[in-house]
Symmetry: C2
Subunit: 403 residues, 2 copies
């Protein structure tokens, strides 16, 4: 039986989780032989032999006994440097860094191919839910129509507190931070970037196409107000931050991240608190739903362990769908129906709606329900961040340009 | 790119579904080149070129261009003969026959090993939900504690009608048969055998141990009465037919199929109608939930397609966990808390309860809530099939013999 000797980069919450999980997995045949950290003196909850630690990346990269690098540092640029260097040296890597992967995936795929080396990253999307592996292996066909879900636990926790416990948004955010579900700078989670990067990675494995993050409309929950929550409650729906990639025709797919009104009949309606939930819809199997803990030390670590164990059998992503001859192209030329709430900002002057279905003018705020092209939203994105503006998708229909 | 030339055995509901799905999957590189059926004259909804059909199995088994056999006939003995013959000839097989696989898996694993040939059967357990592949590949470690779920769509449909629509059991069964969710002889589904065979297969891939079906306590829903339904409603729970395999200690696991009182806080509570739902619980990732259509022509066919596509990349199950050194052993020496309803049959005389927690004596029927060993239930199984007896698990606790 092969033995995996791991060089671990990062010993924060996730790194310590990996250390614990590998100790518990008696049949894993894996061992952490070196740990590279930024600072040796930082106090840590999980105790590891001090002799394992180094602050020099090359102590791992040049150690001939190490046959796998596990990288869970939270600096995307440093992560990129280490992963690229390791792959170029032919050392396989398991990474959980969604920002780094989402921004560099085309290059990293090339390097994997040219150097015949594996980069696995299932933990980067939805923690312990095996989305990437299933899209790559099990849904290895062109029947797939849609992947849609709640991919960020922090923002979902906040929205759950607001909807189910009637906390204010500020209370919910503070509570999320106190519990460690949100970073001290929570914008990465609540502005939708975390979901966006996961969606970029998912799309490569779902439809075989890489779309750069900046080409994708992304809108978070930071400007949600009581009036939006009240509106949703009156309609009997919840507001969830939803990421989705959808085939809109045989030739095109679209993708975006934005708050959405979710009715009780939808699977993701009951994905609450810090959980993630992903719906995979296909032509013949209808909808599959996967649900689990999307973040946290041990769930993420157990996902990393799955990738580590896969290396025992020389597993690598084949990126089979990248080679498909008939692949749909990315488009933002689709019609959405959205809810746009505003007060001082003149949203109707900023956004060109194709049709206004409803308009409400109140003393404190106004809203419209209107049909609008996704391309229009993407183009005007920078004008839609004012604190008095909030947008949400109303998933009634997708219309492509032909109807 | 390799090309898969399929010899298909069986052209019933699932076989026709496979034919349709492979036509739709443009990038599948797979083609059905021969179809073996029992009768050429049977009218079929899906039209296929008559030249494809044969009634002679050897027309497929001896055809050198065929590099994959897909077997979806509903006769377990005929299925066994064909699959064994094919594997011994070195032809890989995809099968959906849970009865055949659950009863012959040890031998089929040996044949795969000795002949270096693959047998894939993800469709045999939970239709379109990728349980086997995930247990084999993604949960390829010893952190797994439990796999528990609703594995049979027909019985679940019946129970849903009874609980959510207040149909009588007889009405619900008739409705299930009318919709094609239940066979004209529904005992396979409602007596729990379908769930049992799936559980046997799941356990091999979950914990690395094969347990023969006859060693596993299996109890269905055919004797459920209005009084049981009323009891469950009063307690605010649903009755579901649940199959489970659970590690009860580091050294032991147990498994059984029986109706269970399911409270609204459980994931499987909301698995209704003909759907299946599986909860996978592990030491570090807590609970993962997978949900989808467990049966039906196209969902099953799309699962078969996943196995077919996997053969493009020479995928086979490695049965890694069978090789684990530290594996838990099967035990029935665990304590359960059950509900036992009866009228004429003297259940208290048949079953030796360790403790009676509640006893109700009524004019029409009686029940007890008591603690009992699973081994006792298994031993007395044949005496518990009287129409006036119904048992259900109350999943409050598992006690092994030490506490």
């Amino acid at each position: 039986m092969a033995q995996i000797k791991i060089g671990l980069f990062g010993f924060g919450v996730v790194g310590q989780g990996i250390f614990q999980v590998i100790q518990r997995a008696k049949n894993a045949h894996a061992e952490i032989v070196r740990i590279c950290v930024r600072s040796l003196d930082k106090p840590r909850k999980v105790a590891a032999d001090p002799a394992l630690f180094t602050t020099t990346a090359d102590d791992i990269l040049n150690d001939p006994q190490i046959n796998l690098i596990v990288e869970v540092i939270d600096d995307a640029q440093a992560s990129y440097n280490i992963v690229k260097k390791a792959l170029l040296k032919g050392i396989p890597v398991v990474s959980g860094n969604k920002t780094m992967i989402a921004n560099h995936l085309p290059e990293l795929i090339e390097i994997q191919k040219n150097n015949n080396v594996a980069l696995l990253y299932d933990a980067s999307s939805c923690g312990s839910i095996p989305v990437i592996r299933n899209l790559e292996e099990y849904y290895d066909n062109d029947l797939l129509l849609e992947v849609k879900g709640i991919l960020n636990g922090s923002s979902n926790y906040i929205l759950s507190r607001v909807f189910d416990h009637k906390d204010s948004y500020a209370e919910a955010l503070a509570q999320a931070q106190a519990l460690g579900f949100a970073e001290s700078d929570p914008s990465f989670d609540i502005e939708g970037y975390d979901s966006l990067f996961k969606l970029v990675i998912i799309t490569v494995h779902a439809l075989g196409t890489y779309v750069a993050p900046e080409r994708i409309f992304t809108y978070g929950i930071s400007t949600i107000h009581d009036s939006d929550i009240q509106y949703a409650r009156e309609k009997g729906v919840k507001i969830k931050l939803v990421a989705q990639v959808v085939k809109v025709s045989d030739e095109h797919f679209t993708m975006f991240v934005m708050p959405e009104f979710v009715s009780p009949s939808k699977y993701i309606y009951s994905v609450d608190d810090e959980y993630n939930g992903v719906v995979i819809r296909g032509e013949c199997y209808d909808r599959q739903f996967m649900f689990g803990k999307g973040a946290g030390s041990l769930p993420t670590a157990s996902s990393i362990l799955s990738d580590v164990m896969a290396r025992l059998h020389d597993y690598r992503y084949e990126y089979k769908k990248l080679k498909y001859v008939q692949k749909p192209d990315y488009t933002t030329d689709i019609m959405l129906k959205i809810y746009a709430r505003y007060s001082a900002t003149d949203v109707l002057n900023i956004l060109k709606f194709e049709k206004i279905h409803e308009q409400y003018i109140g003393e404190e705020s106004n809203y419209v329900i209107g049909s609008i092209r996704l391309s229009e939203l993407l183009e005007k994105r920078k004008n839609l961040s004012e604190p008095d503006v909030f947008l949400a998708n109303i998933p009634i229909f997708f219309l492509n340009k032909d109807n």
